[in-house]
Symmetry: C2
Subunit: 214 residues, 2 copies
DNA sequence: CGACGCCTTGATAAATGTCAAACGTCGTGG
DNA sequence: CCACGACGTTTGACATTTATCAAGGCGTCG
């Protein structure tokens, strides 16, 4: 339902920051780098990643048009960020933005709201991570359905590996659950990255967030 | 190393909010209730919980003296909060606090910093949730070691069930890992809730966050 | 002393990860 | 236009981890 393209964010609406282009898989900032800028997706898709010394990778979040990322407390990024596909990103100096909030109270409130939005998204992510494999994949699909579907069709920008690292499973488990869901008529797989959502009620039942207590 | 008691937080330092007492296991606010107040632990311990309709429970975070909780974006609490042990909590109206930020720029910045602190804590929690059972329990102990140990001794306020729900495991698995760690000389269990940290290097190796890429 | 709550331990089942191979698709070059 | 190769995805057999079910121990408080 949500429009996939051109959803201006807090920065774009105010014409803040400068748009920059990145190729697919290009690094936007690396983990451990100083936190000097704030970023907003104009078009494309971005993943935030953390790589452990043994090679395990976590994808903390995926960001689409209008989403803010790079907001952190410390002086160093604990997660890096990479473009998933060719993307345009608005970049603004953190200090500049903070200075602007002195005059612009609405901007200050938007900033706090964004931080809390981030907290909320992370709550959902955390919740997903304690659920079963089926529920995790279902949650992922439901979230993508809300964020980037056109009608009932989701065009996934990311690989199975990206999904696996986001939901905390292996690529094989994710793949198996996709085929299970397709067999059960919950989704239809036009191709590996083209997904048609079919039975929304069934899928939402499968997210483990039943009724009242969601 | 960290002092367990009397670590005044943002509200206490400014004498904001009114202190209120809660018994152990008393509800401070329920999930689904409107977000009208902000809370700060003066003494004791608080857990934020989410209960799913099928009875599964997640403990999103545990809060000790000086910690803020109850900060959310939406109008309803997506997680509830309960005192773990008898606790004193400062309570302040959210609106009041927001109004105060108009005059007090430092307060506004503290508020944003707290939100980002929360984001950081959640990042660590998320990361923990994709690791193995051993690593999760090790991470938990290391975090408690940093936050509430006196010397090398941790006095846990919460039950095994609370720990299990926080790290996304069953109570049995948590218990087994505790005894394994005690057998391996990483910790010593004076009693079920009295833990002496022994081999810090070994434990930190066991958190899965090796070297550079932490 | 007894009962209750919490914690531990054991046996077994279920879920997920690992390793290996086959399959498809897409772009390149013959 | 077709063949080939690279890469991502799917599938299968098997190993490992963790959950489940059940029982027993331990400490505390009446």
């Amino acid at each position: 339902m949500a429009p996939a393209a051109s959803r201006p964010g807090v920065l774009a609406r105010r014409m803040l920051g400068v748009p920059k282009n990145f190729q697919g898989n290009a690094e936007i900032f690396g983990q451990g780098e100083p936190v000097d800028y704030l970023y907003e997706v104009v078009s494309g898709a971005v993943r935030s990643t953390k790589v452990l010394s043994d090679g395990r990778r976590q994808i903390g979040g995926v960001y689409f048009a209008g989403d803010i990322f790079g907001l952190e407390h410390g002086n160093e990024h604990s997660l890096g960020a990479e473009a998933v596909v060719p993307s345009t990103i608005r970049v603004i100096k953190r200090r500049t933005l903070v200075q602007l909030t002195a005059d612009d109270r609405a901007l200050a409130e938007d900033l706090l709201a964004m931080a809390m939005c981030q907290v909320e998204r992370m709550h959902r992510h955390e919740l997903m991570l304690i659920m079963t494999a089926q529920e995790r994949v279902n949650s992922f699909l439901t979230e993508m359905g809300q964020r980037i579907s056109i009608g009932d069709v989701i065009s996934l920008p990311m690989s199975r590996q990206d999904i696996a690292d986001h939901v905390g499973l292996t690529i094989e488990t994710v793949s198996r659950i996709f085929t299970d869901l397709a067999g059960g008529l919950t989704i239809r797989l036009t191709s590996a990255r083209m997904i048609v959502l079919r039975d929304r009620p069934a899928r939402e039942r499968g997210t483990g967030r039943g009724g009242l207590l969601d």
